[in-house]
Amino acid sequence: MTGFRLPANSRIVKGITHAAPRGTRELRTVRIYRFNPDAGVNPRLDSFELDARSCGPMVLDVLIQIKAAIDSSLTFRRSCREGICGSCAMNINGVNRLACTTATRDLAAEIRIYPLPALPVVKDLVADLTNFYAQYASVKPWLQTRTPVPADRERLQSKEEQERIDRPAACILCACCSTACPSYWWNSERFLGPAALLAAYRWIIDSRDEATGERLDELEDPFRLYRCHTIMNCTDVCPKDLNPARAIAEIKKMLLERQS
């Protein structure tokens, strides 16, 4: 059966508390999941108490402040700090989101930060996305054509055709959606997950692509596509306001329509 409890060596134990510095005026407590694969011990939840006035406005600023001033071993991914690279996706107060676009003032006084759920943890807040990226690669996220490239111009598409793929193509592959999906938690080795399916949809509806049929063939599978039970967590959490649930529904519709 599916395990509903964490394995014994993954259960979280109480961690260290770093007390607030003297003269703190606006106390903010941040509890952060810590795991070091080399230590051979269970993950723990550390508490960092800091003065909210000493950090920038976003959760990422708080993490950078902690790493700089309190514990330099705190490990997390970040790059663009403006919501376009998708590196700092993590579970903040129970919701998968980007640390760089989440303002601390929108959260409860106590912030709890965990890595993205249901993935192997590399260290602290860094989750292993190998399978996630492989699933993205498996939908062949590139243009496939048989018609040779026109000699004198690009492959043209109309304005409306571009608008159709405009939103789905804005996915930054942060993995917030897939790791928020219970179906993905139970069957991530066979269910492609909302992010990969949104990418597949983006190429299925691309007017220049000529492999639509093959793409649909590859998705028609009880696990790859139909493990989606319209739970809609994906659309709920997407930091780019995209709608993977709708993309999946559209794929199901296209599969049905080509049969009748």
Partner: protein, 128 residues
Amino acid sequence: MSLRSPLGRVLGAGSAKRGVHHWWMQRLTSVALVPLSIWFVVSLLSLPSFDHATVVAWMAGSWTALLLILLVLTCAWHSQLGVRVVVEDYVQGAGARTVTLVSLMFAHTLIAAAGVFAVLKVAFGAAP
């Protein structure tokens, strides 16, 4: 330990190239169950009394028997489709999964057959 590439693992044995039918039948049976269930509840509640003779007389009516058979079959079919998905979601390991799915298939067939048989027996007036 496996040294198979992550992409190789994801591609696995390939697409089963099926799933549309299951998905569509689940939707169709649920649509069919809406009027059937409403009819069942309403016509049962509008009986003058729930004693054995009244209910048996109601069941023996041609339309009632026909609709009851449809209700039993659609229910069993819909349930089979739904429970199958639950098992696929949560039961891991090919062996356990296959055994559970096959047993459930048999159980649903038995329930459907028993239900139809019961309705026919009453409808064709055998001593209850």
